[in-house]
Amino acid sequence: MVLWIVLAVLTAVVAAVLIAPLMKARQPVLAGPEDGAAVYRDQLREIDRDLSEGLIGAQEADYARAEIGRRLLAIAGKSDATDASVVKAGPGGRHRLALSAILLCLPAVGLCLYLMLGSPGLPDQPLEARLANPGNNIALLIAKAERHLAQNPNDGAGWDLLAPIYFRSQRLADAENAYRRAIALLGESPERLAGLGETLVAGRDGVVTADALAAFERAVALNRNNMRARFYVALGLEQAGRTPEALKAFQAIAADSPPGAAWTQLVAEHIAKNGGAPAAATKAPGNPGADDIAAAQQLSATDRQQMIAGMVESLAARLKDDPNNIEGWLRLVRSYKVLGRDESAGEALKTGLKTFPPTGEEGRRLLALAREMGLSLEGISQ
C-alpha cells in the first residue's frame, strides 16, 4: 500500500512540474537575435587580435571584417522580422491539449508498463536482513555460516557443523574442504574421517579411492565400532577385487553389528556378492514398508542413491506417459540435481517447460527451482 502511495505521489509531482510552465502566464519572449550579434562582435575583436599576432594578413582581415559585418546586418534584419511575429504565449486555454496529454500520458504509460513489468508485491531483500532472519532456508543458513567462517576461518566447530550440510546439498567440493579444515583445526575423529571419506566416494561416483580408503582406515583405527567406516573399507576391498578379504570384512561387520541394525540387509547382500553364505538373518522377513524406508535412511549414501535412482527412473517413465503433472516435474528436476545428474536435470527442465511454458505460473515455478538448484538456464528463453 505504501508503495502505491509513493508511486502516486511521484507521478503527481512529475505531472505538477511539467504542468507548471503551461499554467504560468508568460511574458512573450523574443527569440534572441542579440545572441548571435554578441558572437559576431566578439569575432570582430578577435580579428584585431589575430592581426596583431600575424595570424591573418591585413587585406584578409578587411575581408573577414566585411564578412562578419554582413552577418551582423543580416541578423539585424531578421530581428526586425521577429519583432513583427512576437512569440505567442498564453495561459490555460491554448494548452488544453498539451495539458491533457501530460495528465493522461504520465499515469497511463507509467501504470500500464509498470503493471506489465514490475513486481509490486515483492519487498526488498537485502542480504544482511535475510541472514539475520534466515528461517529454515537451507541456502541462507549455509550462506550465513559461510560468512561467519570467512571472518573466522579458524572456527573448527563451524566447519564441522557445515561439512555434513554441504554433503547433503551435494556441494561436494565445499564439503571436502570443510571436512579437511575441521580435521586440521579440531583433530581427527571417526565421524569427521568417515564423513570426509564418504564425500570423496560420492565425488567419484561411488568408487572408494585411495584417499578415501586411507580416511576410513584411520577412522576404524580410532574407533572399531564405526560401522560406516568399516563398511566402506570392506567396499574398497571388494572394488579392488580382493574378494576373500572383503568377504571376511563384511562377515566381521555382520558379527559385530547389534541385532536388527539398519544396515544388516545391505551387508548381507555384499556377503552374498562376495561368495559367502548369508549370515543368519536377524531380521525376520516381512513385508517391506515403513521399515524399509527407515532402512533406506540409514543406508550409506552410495546405496541410498542407487535406491533413489530407481525411484527417479520410474517417475521419469510416468511423466513421459502423462506430462501434465507439475509436482512430478518439480520432483524429477530436484531429484536429478540431488543425484548430481545435472544434464538429466536440464533435460527434464526443458521437457517440463514444453508442457508448462515459462510464461505461466507453473513454468515460473520450474524456473525458480532451477535457479535455486543452480542449474544452467542457458538456451532457455525466459
Partner: protein, 662 residues
C-alpha cells in the same frame, strides 16, 4: 520497496521522455513560449527520475539484494564495496542504464547551462535528445530490464566477472560514456539546425563546448581503457585493433574532425554543411559502437542470430536515427547558405586537410571492423582483420596528417603563407630530427624508420611550442612585451598547443615502444636471475595468499641494476572462488616513462614457472600524451570566448559545466 520505486521511476521516465519528444518541438514550431519552456524543466525532471532509478539499482547492489536478477547474476556478497558499486555497470543491463543516465545528464546540462541559447533552438535540441532517450528507455525496459525480480531470492550471487574486479571498471565506462554520449548533444544540435533551417557561426560556438567536452572525455576514456587492458590482461599489449576498441576509436576520429571543422565554421562560417554532417556522423558512429558491443554480434554472428531481440532492437534504433538524420540532411542541407571564402593554403585549408584525412581513416577503421562481420554473414567464412591491415592503412594515412599538424596553427586565416610557415618550422624540424636520432642512439638498435618516427613525435611537440612562441612574438619583440603577449593569448591557443603537444608525446611513446620493446619468456626456478632492459630480476619464489573472494599465487621478484637492488615486484595468478576463473595480475615497475612488465605463466612439472618479462621503453608517453590532450581540452573549454552568447542572460561560466559530470 526501494527497488520497485526505482523500477517505476524508470517507467515514468519513459512517459516523461515521450512528452518531451513531442510538446517542446511543437512549441518551437509554433513559437509557443509555454510549450518551449517545458523542455528545460522537463529535461531536469527526466534526469532526476533516471538518477532515482539508477540510485535504486546501486542500492540493490550495495546491500546485495539477490531478489534482483541483475544483482544475483553480477555480484557476490563478499566482494569489496567498491566493486559492488562499479559492478552496477559491469554488465549489459546496468551499463545501458548508465548510458541513459549520462544522456539525460547532458540534456539537463544543456537545459541549465544553455540559457544563452535561443529558446526555440534549445527546445528543439532538448526534444531531439528526448527522442534518443525514449528509444533507449524502450530498449532498456523491453529487452534489458535491470529490475527483473527473482522469487524466491537465491542466497548468494554469481560474482562479477573477475577481469572486471578492478578500479579500472569504476573509471573507464563512465568516462567513455561521457564521451560517447556527449556527442549526442552535437547530434541534437545538428538535427535542430536542420529542422530550424538556421545555422551560423553562433551555432558553431554553442556546439563547440559540447564537442570539446565530449572529445576530452572520450580521449580520457579510450586512454584509460587502453591502460586497463595493458595491465589487466597480462599480454603486455596496449592496443589490439579489437572491434570493441575500434568502436570507441571511430567516434574519436570523427569527433576530432568535428572539433576542427567546428573551429573553421565558428571563425569563418565556412564548412557549415560539412560540420553538420560530421556531427551526425560522429554520433552515428557512437551508436554503431553501442550496437557492435551490446548486440553480441562481435562474439559471433551466430550468437546474434540465436537471440536477436536486443541486437535487432539496437539495429532498429541505429537505422532510425542514422537513416532519419541523413534523410533530413539530404532534404534540408541544400537550404543552408555557405559562408566565407578561403584560399587552399590557409588555416581553413589545413583544417580541411585534417578533416579529409581523419574521415578517410575513420572509414578505413570502419571497413576493417565491419568487413569480417559482413563476410561471415554472407559466406559463413571467418576471417579476422588484425594489426597488419590497420598498421599499414591507418598508419600510412596518419603520417601526412601528423606532419601537417604543426603547420596548421602557424598558417594565417583565409590565405596563408606556406613558405613562411616552412621557414619558421625549419629550426623546429631540424631540432626534432636531432632529438629523434639522439633518442634512437640512446636506445640503440631498431630500423632506421624509427628515428624518423621519433623525430615526427618531437616535431609535433616542438611545433606546438613554436606556435605559442611565434604568436607571442618571442625573438621578434622585446622579451617583456612578448611575455605579456604570451600571457594574453586566449586559452584556446594554449588548449590547441597542449593537445598537439600531447599528440606528439603519444606518437613518441608508440614509436619507442614498438621499436625498442623486448620480450623475454623464460622458465624460472626460485633463485634464478634474468636480465631484461638493463635490469636483472631475481625470482624469489611463489607464495599463496587469500583475498576477499579469491586465492592467489604470488611470485616475488627483486630487481637490481648494476648489482644494486632498486625495486621489488609481485606478480600473481588469481583464482576467483565463485566462478572458478583464473586471472593474471601482472607486476609492473615504472622507471621514468619506461616500464618493466612481469607476468606469470603456467607452472612446469619440474617446479619452475614460465615468466614473461617485457621491457617497455617510454610506454607511459602513450597515455601521458592522452592525458596532456585531455588537459588541453579542459584548458580550451575554459576559454572565455565559449561563454560569449548572450552575456546579459548568462547564468554560469561554461567552466562550471564540467563539474557535475565529474
Amino acid at each position: 520497496m526501494i527497488i520497485e520505486i526505482g523500477h517505476y521511476a524508470l517507467v515514468l521516465s519513459l512517459a516523461t521522455s515521450l512528452l518531451l519528444s513531442v510538446l517542446p518541438l511543437i512549441g518551437a514550431r509554433r513559437q509557443d513560449a509555454a510549450l518551449m519552456a517545458l523542455a528545460p524543466i522537463g529535461s531536469v525532471t527526466l534526469f532526476g527520475l533516471v538518477a532515482l532509478s539508477f540510485a535504486a539499482l546501486t542500492w540493490a547492489y550495495a546491500v546485495s539484494d539477490f531478489s534482483v536478477a541483475n544483482v544475483w547474476e553480477n555480484s557476490h556478497s563478499l566482494m569489496p564495496l567498491v566493486y559492488k558499486l562499479s559492478g552496477v555497470w559491469g554488465n549489459h543491463e546496468g551499463s545501458m542504464l548508465l548510458w541513459l543516465l549520462i544522456l539525460v545528464l547532458f540534456s539537463a546540462m544543456v537545459a541549465v547551462f544553455g540559457r544563452n541559447l535561443p529558446d526555440s533552438l534549445r527546445a528543439t535540441v532538448l526534444s531531439v535528445q528526448a527522442w534518443i532517450g525514449t528509444a533507449f528507455l524502450l530498449f532498456i525496459l523491453l529487452t534489458s530490464n535491470p529490475f527483473v525480480r527473482l522469487n524466491p531470492a537465491p542466497a548468494e550471487g554469481q560474482d562479477l566477472n573477475p577481469v572486471l574486479q578492478d578500479p579500472g571498471l569504476a573509471v573507464h565506462p563512465p568516462l567513455l560514456y561521457l564521451g560517447y554520449v556527449g556527442f549526442s548533444v552535437c547530434f541534437s544540435f545538428a538535427i535542430a539546425a536542420l529542422i530550424e533551417g538556421r545555422i551560423d557561426a553562433a551555432w558553431a560556438r554553442w556546439v563547440r563546448p559540447w564537442t570539446l567536452a565530449a572529445w576530452t572525455f572520450l580521449t580520457a576514456g579510450i586512454a584509460m581503457g587502453s591502460y586497463w587492458a595493458y595491465y589487466e590482461l597480462g599480454w603486455g599489449g596496449w592496443w589490439f585493433w579489437d572491434p570493441v576498441e575500434n568502436a570507441s576509436f571511430m567516434p574519436w576520429l570523427a569527433g576530432t574532425a568535428l572539433l576542427h571543422s567546428a573551429l573553421v565554421m565558428e571563425k569563418r562560417e565556412a564548412l557549415k554543411v560539412w560540420t553538420v554532417l560530421l556531427a551526425i556522423l560522429t554520433f552515428s558512429l557512437s551508436l554503431l559502437g553501442t550496437f557492435l558491443v551490446r548486440s553480441g554480434v562481435l562474439t559471433s554472428v551466430h550468437a546474434f542470430a540465436t537471440d536477436p531481440t536486443r541486437g535487432t532492437f539496437i539495429l532498429a534504433i541505429l537505422s532510425f536515427f542514422v537513416g532519419g538524420a541523413f534523410a533530413l540532411y539530404a532534404w534540408r542541407a541544400p537550404e543552408l547558405k555557405s559562408g566565407g571564402l578561403f584560399a587552399p593554403i590557409s588555416r581553413e585549408g589545413a583544417l580541411v586537410l585534417n578533416n579529409l584525412i581523419l574521415t578517410v581513416s575513420t572509414a578505413t577503421v570502419l571497413i576493417g571492423t565491419l568487413y569480417p562481420l559482413v563476410l561471415e554473414t554472407l559466406t559463413g567464412e571467418k576471417i579476422s582483420v588484425g594489426a597488419p591491415f590497420f598498421n599499414l592503412s591507418f598508419g600510412l594515412l596518419m603520417i601526412p596528417l601528423l606532419i601537417a599538424v604543426p603547420f596548421g596553427p602557424l598558417l594565417a586565416w583565409k590565405r596563408g603563407d606556406l613558405l613562411g610557415a616552412l621557414q619558421r618550422l625549419y629550426l623546429v624540424a631540424g631540432l626534432s630530427l636531432v632529438a629523434g636520432f639522439v633518442l634512437f642512439y640512446l636506445e640503440h638498435g631498431g630500423p632506421v624508420m624509427a628515428g624518423l618516427g621519433l623525430a615526427l613525435g618531437f616535431f609535433l611537440m616542438l611545433g606546438a611550442l613554436a606556435d605559442l612562441w611565434f604568436r607571442s612574438g618571442f625573438g621578434k619583440l622585446a622579451f617583456s612585451v612578448a611575455f605579456a603577449r604570451f600571457k594574453g593569448l586566449p586559452r584556446s591557443a594554449f588548449g590547441t598547443a597542449l593537445a598537439h603537444f600531447g599528440l606528439g608525446v603519444t606518437v613518441l611513446g608508440i614509436v619507442a615502444v614498438t621499436t625498442f620493446e623486448t620480450e623475454t619468456v623464460v622458465e624460472m626456478k626460485q633463485g634464478q636471475t634474468v636480465t631484461v632492459g638493463g635490469y636483472s630480476l631475481v625470482f624469489d619464489g611463489l607464495r599463496e595468499a587469500v583475498g576477499p573472494n579469491f586465492t592467489e599465487e604470488r611470485g616475488h621478484f627483486t630487481v637490481s641494476r648494476a648489482g644494486v637492488a632498486v625495486a621489488d615486484v609481485w606478480s600473481s595468478k588469481r583464482i576467483y572462488t565463485a566462478r572458478r576463473m583464473p586471472t593474471t595480475e601482472a607486476g609492473i615497475l615504472t622507471f621514468g616513462f619506461s616500464q618493466l612488465y612481469v607476468s606469470l605463466g603456467d607452472p612446469m612439472a619440474d617446479g619452475g614457472i614460465v615468466v614473461r618479462i617485457w621491457w617497455k621503453p617510454w610506454i607511459l608517453c602513450i597515455w601521458g600524451g592522452a592525458l596532456v590532450m585531455m588537459v588541453g581540452g579542459f584548458v580550451s573549454l575554459s576559454d572565455r570566448r565559449l561563454r560569449v552568447g548572450a552575456p546579459s542572460r548568462r547564468a554560469k561560466p561554461v567552466k562550471a559545466l564540467m563539474e557535475p559530470a565529474e
